[in-house]
Each structure stands twice: as C-alpha cells, then as structure tokens.
Symmetry: C2
Subunit: 416 residues, 2 copies
C-alpha cells in the first residue's frame, strides 16, 4: 500500500471549519487506498501569540542557556492542539485517526533548541499504525532532543517534519497544502502575469526558497532533494473533490523541457552592512566573518572595494534583516579589533534573484539581467551567483519594477 | 533541605503580570532555603477555550473510544504553556528553573483518559533536580498513560498533581495558592459573616469539597489524607512579601479545639430525578442504580416512598446536574424494564450540608438543622448523612436564606 504524507499549514487549519475542510482532503486520499500521515501546523496566529508570550516573559539570561528550551515547551503547544483537533474531526467522520506528538513518534532532534535539526526518526510504530489503516496526525515543527525535552525545528519547521517523515516512511510523495495553488514564476501579488509552474527541480526550488519564496522552508527542500522525496505544492483552498494539479518539485532529470530561467524572486528579508576603511591586510575580513558566523548570522553578497584611504578597503555584505541590530552591536564592540573607520547599515534593500537550471548550459543570462535593470535606471549594489542563480541587491523602491521587467525579459509572462 | 510544593491555579497565572507575581511568591520560598516544586494550571480561560474547541470538533464516535485521548492531547497544552512561561519568568529573574511536563517526570496514570487517576510518580529525577537548587515548574493536571499518551486528571486536577507530588517527594507541605485567602465556614459571597478557618481536618475538607466548596478538588484532599500531606490554602492575591496565614488542612488530631459544626456548604451542581409508581419488588431499585452506575453517574440522596398506587413506590434521588440529560435518556429507554409510570426531573434544587468532626460525639446537630429550616418555612425534599455531615435537598430559591440561618444557628457568625 502506498504511503502519502500530507502537510497543512497554519492558514489551512485556521479554525474548525478549515480543519473540517482538511479532513475532506484526507478522506479523499484514504478512499484512494493510501496509508496516510498528516502533518499539521499551529492554527494561524497561534504561534505568533505564543512567541509573543515568551517575549513578554522576558529574555532569559542567555548564560543560563535555558531560554530556548522553555520557548520550545511553550511554542510547540500550538501544533499539539491542531493535531488533537484534526484527529477528533476525522474520528467524528467515522475515520480511524490519532494524534502523534514529536516525542511520541519519536522524532529525535539535536540539542539546538528553538532551531533544532532532525537527527533520526524511529518510524516503525508510526508506519505500522498507518499501514493498519489508522490516519496518523502529526504535530509538526517539533521533536524530542537528547535531553528528553521538546525541541522545535524553527519557523516553518512543519514542512521539514513532513518531508522527513516522507523520507523515513519511504512515502510515495509528500503533498504540501498551503494557501497558494503552486509555485509561481514570481510573486503573483507583484506581477499579474506570473505563471504557476507544473514542475520545478529541487535545485531551483531550493534557490527560490532560500531567497524568499515563502512557499516552502529551505530545509524541507534540502531534505527532499537528499532523499529524493517528490514534493507537491497545492492549495487547501481548492475544492477538496477536485484539487488543482499544484506544482511538483522533483529531480531535474524528470523535467523534460528545462527553462533557462524558471523564476524571479525578490527577497525583502535582507539588510546591508558596510564597513568603511578596513585595513587591507590578511585576516581582517576573516575577523569580521568569524565574528558573525560565531553568532550564527548568515552572511551573503560580500563585496570588497578599494577605499579612498590608502591601504584600506570598504567591505559590504548582506545579512538577514532580523539579525541587523545584533550584527551592528557585535561589529561596534569589535571596532578596534577590526580596525574600520565607520559602519553603515541599510534596510531599504531587496535582493532580486533569477533562477533556472538551464543557466548551467546557457550563457548570456547575466547580461540580460544587467541590461534590463540598467535600461530602467536601477543601480546594482551587490551581486552574488550560484550555478543556477544570479542575485542582485537593489534599492527596495525598485522591487516591483525590477521583477516585472525581468519576468518579461526572460519570456516568463503568460499570455495576458 | 525541606521540600515544598506550591500550586497556583488559573486565576493566579491569568496573564504575565500574574505569572510574575507568582514568581515573587516562589522567590520568597527559595530565599527561605527550601527545595521548590511549583505546579501550575492553565491560564484562566484557556482550558475552557480548548474544551470548547474539542466540543466543536464534534463528539467522536464513542465506540471508537479515542475521543478522550485526543481531548487530553488538546486540553493538556494549556498547562504546558504556563509551565514554560513561569520557568522563563523565573530564569529572567536570575533563578534556575525548568518546566516539566507530566510525561517527562514521569507522572504515570491509568488509562482513564479525560479523568485519569495517578498510578505512580517516578520522582527521582525531579527530586534530584530540586535538591540541586533548580526550581521545578510542573504542568499540572496531566500525566502519561500506559499507552504512552498524555492523560489528564479531570477538571481541577492540578490540585491532585500538587498533593501527589508532595507525597511522592515527601514534601514538608503543599501550599495551594488560589483566589481566596483560605477555607471559609461558608461561601463569603452568600454570607458576609463567614469566617476564615485557621485549621480544618482532612475529613471535613473532604466533605466540603465533595459537596461543592470549590477551593480544592476532592481527590486532592483524599490523597492528602491518605499520605498525611499537610495542605495549606492561601491567596496569590496577597502581598507576596506578607502572605496571610491561610487555612491549614491537617489531621484531626492536630486540631485542638474541634468545632461541632465547621462549615455550611451549598452545592448547586445537583439535579433531582423522581420515578413514579415503580413496582415495589426486589430488584427494581437495583436495575435503576445499576443502569446509572454503569454509565458512571453518581447517585446520592435516595428516597423511596410509598406510591398512591398499591404495590408501587416512588423513588427519588439526586445526580450531578451535568449528567441529568444523559440519565433521563437512559431511564426513558429502560422505562419498560424498570416499570415506572412517569419520570420527573428538577434542576431547581440545592444541597445544603453542615459539616463538622465534632458531630461524631455530639447529638442534636440534625435536630437544630431541621428546626432552623422549618422555622423559615423551608421544605426538606431529601436527606443524606455521613459521620461528619448532614445534607438536605431544598428548593434552590431558599439557598441564601438557609445558609445564613444555619450559619447563625450553629454559632459560626463572626462578630459583625
């Protein structure tokens, strides 16, 4: 019997009517004869409410190192509630169902409370239960750490839970139900001519997820790629009897006609820091980036340029906007050690990325991008590239203009 | 080092200000040099909200027998949140603290999900943690059942958690912080001249709890009596620096001056059922009460009186008001088998009880009660007694009048 993992996010389980709607999607798969695992998020707004309570409880002394553990105890309760409610609704419709908390599976994590990684899933009992015809409703986003306490996987961790379970249970596929009906060539709210893709490769989805397409959490895509779990993104707002095809995320080999550019993705969660007049000598840059790495702050788009001061260089880079204050404090404290003259930071930036596996074998993608932006008078501040992605940092006021122009330039616009 | 268990109910942890206030009471005991276990309820209103969600999710098919298990998964989350938040607040004040869920202790229960009983507490790890100077914040009301799933102890189960932990940890005492400053001779909202008692015996408290004094859950008092755990009821709304003395619940032997009557307790959670013209022959009453017992409905105050029809009797009794609809349905379905002619039910009744260990050695308590009520023209419908309690069922419109009259008649009024 084929096993299927279905995952429903917060807006899909926002209230009991939505949860009953989820039950209809589940029933459809049960009647199709599959063994079913359902992974649920907290009801929309609940996690934010719980996080706010933790914040109000006060930032615990980080030296005591317990803050994240208690945060996990509090925040994980949101998914616990949804899992029990969906199990009740399914039972009420005459289906056999039970909820599973992360610690009951057990889904084992590392000790990084608040942003734990999955270490192992002991899926035997779970697999037996679903093959015996019982629907397993899993509280997403959480597991049990080696200290015997609940650990959460970080925001969006329910996607990761779903994909990891699909891998552990060797599921036929992992269906991620969300509030959009698939993955689009760009954000449809920004550009009306965006198109839903039928298929996208893991690599492309990974790049899109990592630069801000909020459809799937990055780690869940990494995991799907590593274990070759076919993932489908589809909408829980479709009619449960006739759901749309969604977007299948799969191996590059399974995509016959590869786009040179598949999507254009703007990411607003960026901030730029510039350190002026850093002594241009070996080890200075290392000090900066070691400092930030030790604080678990991801750095991207590093540009080093000569300073007007002789023997000095300006170093600029981007970091997640949420880390800006923390990074600025760390760098200020280390000013003498690094030896820069001034620090500048800028939140009004956006990273626009063009992504496509076809880039590997096609030249000229970058030049189209630069020319398109130059023609609109948009200045490129920083650039970073990967094998299948080119990203540029621009002033955030040009976001929509840049996205639309690039979408058209790469031939992605659908017929209006 | 002496161990102390402190328990805080829902109104004592209603929001973060109240939780910070709890932390002040805890700090006071820590500074007095004790090892501390704190048991918390869900924030006021949360449990009701979660129960309502479960109800909306629909009454599951009871034949599947899973309803209560999922109810437990949902409802137990309320205490989980409070335990994490209080631990955070304590940590934030520089104290070492951690939350413990029932399954982490583990506090083991039986399989009666939704109203489980505690089977065993493996308190070694918990005891070591608190003796090492860490405050243990326990999510009350819950444990882990033999099926490896969360089981709740029924409403008010946090009191039971606290007393059971005090027994398992051989604590010096168990302090129950609530929204009243002790146990009163009667409900102060009904009678202004009610007095706070300094001491009350377990037996008296048990009778008061079982007939509706909502200060402590009945089972927690039973447990305290069985394990001789001194319990103190006091208010979390007092100044944390100068808390009042509260009421100590202890062994009868520790109370030097015993009252004949200690308290007057009205209980509104009663309903009366009367079955008319039941054939007066062996086995008929057994059928009625077996039927109700099998449905887990507690019957009290049974009165059998001759019917006008020859060879028939009327049988009336009280049950918890919440069970009235269920009981009426059961009895109607069994009408032919029992053979009664008509069924009557009445919600407008109140059970008024006078309680006191001194009754054991003093006659005349009942006659004072009957005369006092008769003088006010209050008709007694049913009567039940125990060694230290006399209860009468009266029309609920006379509740306040009866309580005040009896309170005065037994000399309980404080100087006005």
């Amino acid at each position: 019997m084929s096993r299927i993992v279905m995952k429903f996010g917060g807006t899909s389980v926002a209230d009991l009517d939505r949860i009953r709607n989820v039950a209809r999607f589940v029933r459809r798969e049960v009647e199709a004869g599959s063994s079913i695992v359902v992974v649920v998020s907290a009801m929309a707004g609940e996690t934010n409410k719980l996080v706010a309570l933790c914040r109000q409880a006060g930032p615990a002394d980080p030296k005591l190192g317990m803050h994240d553990v208690e945060y996990d105890a509090v925040v994980s309760s949101g998914e616990q509630v949804t899992s029990g409610l969906l199990a009740l609704v399914l039972q009420n419709q005459g289906l056999r169902a039970r909820s599973w908390q992360g610690w009951q599976i057990p889904l084992e994590t590392d000790m990084a409370h608040g942003k734990a990684r999955i270490a192992d899933i002991k899926g035997e009992a779970l697999g037996e239960a679903i093959d015996g015809g019982e629907i397993a409703v899993i509280a997403g986003f959480q597991g049990i750490a080696p200290d015997g306490r609940i650990a959460t996987l970080g925001r969006g961790g329910s996607d990761t839970t779903a994909v990891a379970l699909a891998a552990a249970l060797k599921a036929e596929r992992c269906d991620i139900y969300t509030d959009v009906d698939g993955v689009y060539t760009t954000d449809p709210r920004i550009h009306k001519l965006a198109r839903r893709m039928d298929r996208i490769s893991f690599e492309e989805m990974l790049e899109m997820a990592s630069v801000g397409a909020k459809v799937l959490q990055t780690r869940s895509v990494e995991l799907a790629m590593a274990y070759k779990v076919p993932v489908r993104v589809l909408s829980s707002f479709d009619n449960p009897e006739t759901p749309g095809p969604g977007t299948v995320i799969c191996d590059e080999e399974e995509i016959v006609e590869k786009n040179i550019v598949s999507g254009i993705t703007p990411s607003h969660d960026e901030a730029k820091i510039s350190l002026l007049a850093v002594p241009d000598e070996p080890g200075r840059a290392a000090r900066i980036f070691t400092l930030l790495a030790d604080a678990n702050i991801n750095v991207d788009m590093i540009v080093q340029s000569p300073s007007r001061a002789p023997g000095k260089a300006n170093i600029s880079f981007t970091i997640p906007e949420a880390d800006l204050d923390r990074a600025a404090t760390l760098l200020s404290d280390a000013k003498d050690d690094i030896g820069y003259s001034a620090i500048q930071s800028d939140r009004n930036v956006v990273k626009v990325s063009v992504i496509g596996v076809g880039m590997k074998s096609h030249a000229g993608v970058a030049s189209v991008m630069f020319k398109t932006l130059a023609d609109r008078g948009i200045n490129i501040q920083n650039i970073s590239t990967s094998e299948i992605k080119i990203s540029v940092l621009i002033d955030s006021q040009y976001t929509e203009l840049a996205v639309r122009a690039l979408h058209q330039a790469y031939g992605l616009d659908r017929a209006a």
